[in-house]
Symmetry: C2
Subunit: 342 residues, 2 copies
């Protein structure tokens, strides 16, 4: 019986204008209901906090439906099965999937939206399944390799370099023989990607000119730019691209909380001058190939050639403030909210 | 002896700010010099006036060097060889190449910049060699087919539909089995591309909403957008693209005379949502394959399945005002300045 358990949930109370405020959330509690045949209860342990969540809070057509008003906020997470009437999962299994911002997820074991799958805490620490072995890692891997098509010797630039996606983009590019230059905010993050992750250089956009940094660290121009931020940085990189460059549009964190219209890339005609392309990626398209990516990155990890860093904040009640860390550039590594014990 | 001939020339006197003014040009005259071994004199007959010329008048790195101050303005043209000390061309030959905005071109027959090649007025009227059988046609053909990669049944939208590039884009797309919707300014141009060129529909941006037009005429969305104009129209089309859409960036005539920064496409994140791409094209990259395009379009012309329209203005002295017609949308068909007799 799980009905003695109290499920605390963050629901979307209002569609934010600009940066999300506390009043955009409502906190509710409900008893965990009894399950019927085919259902499971998953206790959330780690929740993945991602820039994309800001987009899910807006109305309007996108690559995924918006979170509805009064709906539990969507989030990926890793948790433990604590009750099961399904043959797919046993009590004690660890799973990754769409837990939502709540303590307990209840529903059919084969729910298509939650899309739970088993993860093994002996193969990798659970938070890694929300980082390189989860959506950010898959986004980085397939965006870089399938859209960017790097060749050894090419120069790859990645913004949000110390973030979940950026860490993996840079390290995969290094494995493929590229020169890798990150863009990140602050000396600590820049030192980390160079000294710990093996990037060739990193430009601190908070203290220096990105344009000068690109001139200095990309003497042969930019062949691939993996963009997580949009805005001025995208525009600046556009002035330094090479012939036949590839720009992967993964996100635009600088624009997500705009109350004015999105800043389009004014230098987009550089695509014409350089016969270059700009292409979007959504990770779900590669779902059938996740095992391929996990196997290759897992091999590099086992060889000690691939690191990841997580920034883990404690407590479900801290969800609203922790989410804002992403937009203030305050997280250092993949941002994760721990809401339960392993 | 050609030294009795007076060569009138339009030279770039100043780099324009916004729309070119008369004072941005100087008109000079000089005697046509005697030629030496290997040289020819070409009398200009038809000059190609193109939106790209506006870009060549600006300073700064681009896909081609800027026209220098006091240099004869660059232009493609068709002319007649009237003197020759080269075995490549005989007096009386018709040639296409970089004549410049002047009555006579004088120099080496194998000059790489002018890049003259023979054209046959019996196979096609000379102005066609500046339209479908020239740079605009090649731009349209390779941009659509190589970058756009249309499949039968897909919907292709092209802006500047009645212009030199647009005419050919739409007709090539029709030959490949696509649904073709043009965007043009004015009822006459729209009627022309639908009734004469066989487009499925055309949206008049001057009298109606492009967004509504796209909803009406592209019920299955937009798979390929061939962009000659940039600005608001590009942004509007971005809201109607399909998954895996291709946007070919060929030009941005709406932005060439800006005195404010170029308007970047604010809706570029539609590329992400739709896993779409935006890619630039410069026709020179396809030089080795021009004969392939000319052969295929020539075949369609001979079969009566491919029309082109030129808008021919008379008189070298009218160059400055005629050029402005492009930016005011006043030309109807490929804009050509006739400066000599066939």
């Amino acid at each position: 019986m799980t009905s003695a358990l109290v499920n605390k949930q963050f629901r979307l109370a209002a569609r934010p204008v600009g940066m999300p405020k506390n009043s955009d959330w409502s906190v509710t509690t409900e008893a965990v209901r009894d399950i019927v045949d085919g259902e499971i209860v998953v206790q959330s342990i780690y929740l993945s906090l991602d820039p994309a969540m800001r987009g899910w809070m807006n109305e309007g057509k996108s690559y995924i439906r918006p979170v509805a008003i009064d709906e539990v906020m969507r989030a990926g997470g890793v948790g433990k099965v604590i009750a099961s009437k399904s043959s797919r999962f046993a009590v004690g299994d660890y799973v990754s999937g769409g837990t939502g911002v709540q303590n307990y997820w209840v529903g059919a074991a084969d729910d298509k939206t939650a899309a739970f799958y088993k993860v093994d805490p002996k193969l990798a620490p659970l938070p890694k399944y929300l980082n390189a072995l989860g959506m950010p890692g898959m986004t980085a891997y397939f965006g870089l390799l399938d859209v960017g098509m790097p060749k050894a010797g090419e120069t790859v630039v990645v913004s949000g370099a110390a973030g979940a996606v950026g860490q993996t983009v840079g390290q995969v590019a290094k494995q493929k023989g590229c020169r890798v230059v990150g863009i990140a905010g602050g000396k600590d993050k820049c030192d980390f990607v160079v000294n710990e992750l093996g990037f060739d250089a990193c430009i601190d956009y908070k203290t220096g000119s990105v344009k000068d940094g690109l001139k200095q660290h990309c003497p042969n121009g930019v062949d691939i730019y993996f963009d997580n931020v949009g805005g001025e940085i995208l525009d600046t990189v556009l002035t330094r691209i090479n012939m036949k460059a590839r720009i992967i549009i993964c996100g635009a964190i600088s624009q997500y909380n705009n109350t004015t219209p999105v800043k389009g890339p004014a230098n987009y005609l550089s695509l014409l001058v350089n016969r270059a392309r700009m292409e979007g990626i959504v990770v779900f398209d590669y779902a059938a190939r996740y095992p391929e990516a996990a196997a290759e990155m897992g091999k590099w990890m086992a060889q000690g050639k691939f690191q990841t860093r997580e920034d883990i904040v404690q407590g479900l009640e801290n969800f609203p403030d922790t989410l804002l860390m992403l937009f203030e550039g305050k997280n250092f590594g993949k941002l994760i909210l721990q809401v339960g014990q392993e």
